[in-house]
Symmetry: C2
Subunit: 104 residues, 2 copies
DNA sequence: CTTGACACCTAGCGACGCTATGTATAGTGT
DNA sequence: ACACTATACATAGCGTCGCTAGGTGTCAAG
């Protein structure tokens, strides 16, 4: 997979990964890999900044969890995050449809 | 359509637009708009640099045409360009499949 | 004779995925 | 005991590339 193919789509993918329940950053990375069948095997330096950005935008909220002794930051969708995800799914359908119409 | 959604995909779209025959830059812009049903209404400052880049990479070749009096640069796919297009169509299918698997 | 479509061009900006690097803990193997 | 891997977080800086904004010039219509 070419680098930068994700550009502009990653936020939606991360939101979708958190749609079924809260998770910490590392788990988001693994879940993206799992759901995509290995296609999205993203470095931490890609995903952590996304989580920070989405939280800064109010689409995610987080809190530290030290239940297991290991410190983890657990993220969850806010209401606005869930709404943004719906918009992004719509946008994706439009975009994908347009690309396929052009590619033929 | 969000800006930058195209990032990493535009080259393939331009190649696809030229797959059915040579065209000049402005016509490529119009054809992208037409095929996409208006979704891809791209400014010239986006498309012209792409054409230059693809030509520099050997995927397109061009020559000036002044048949109508108006100067136009007409682009056509090279063999390598056509082969690149095939690869990009494959990549798109993989990418789109992975995105849809994640979005659910 | 101005307006708008056609047709080309490029400098510079901004966004963002990625590389590289750093820290620290838990588990596994030898 | 010691090394190594996986887990888990963080961020500075780079490179790419779509876009904005500005420029040149031709042609048709009102």
């Amino acid at each position: 997979m070419r680098a930068d193919t994700l550009k502009g789509h990653l936020d939606g993918l991360v939101l979708a990964t958190l749609a079924e329940g809260p998770a910490h950053g590392y788990a988001v990375i693994e879940e993206l890999k799992r759901r995509s069948g290995g296609a999205f095997d993203l470095p931490e330096g890609t995903v952590y900044p996304v989580l920070h950005r989405l939280e800064a935008e109010g689409l995610l909220a987080s809190e530290w969890s030290d239940g297991t002794g290991r410190k983890r930051r657990v993220y969850r969708l806010t209401r606005r995050g869930r709404s943004s995800l719906h918009g992004r799914r719509r946008d994706w359908k439009l975009f994908a449809g347009a690309v396929e119409a052009v590619l033929g």
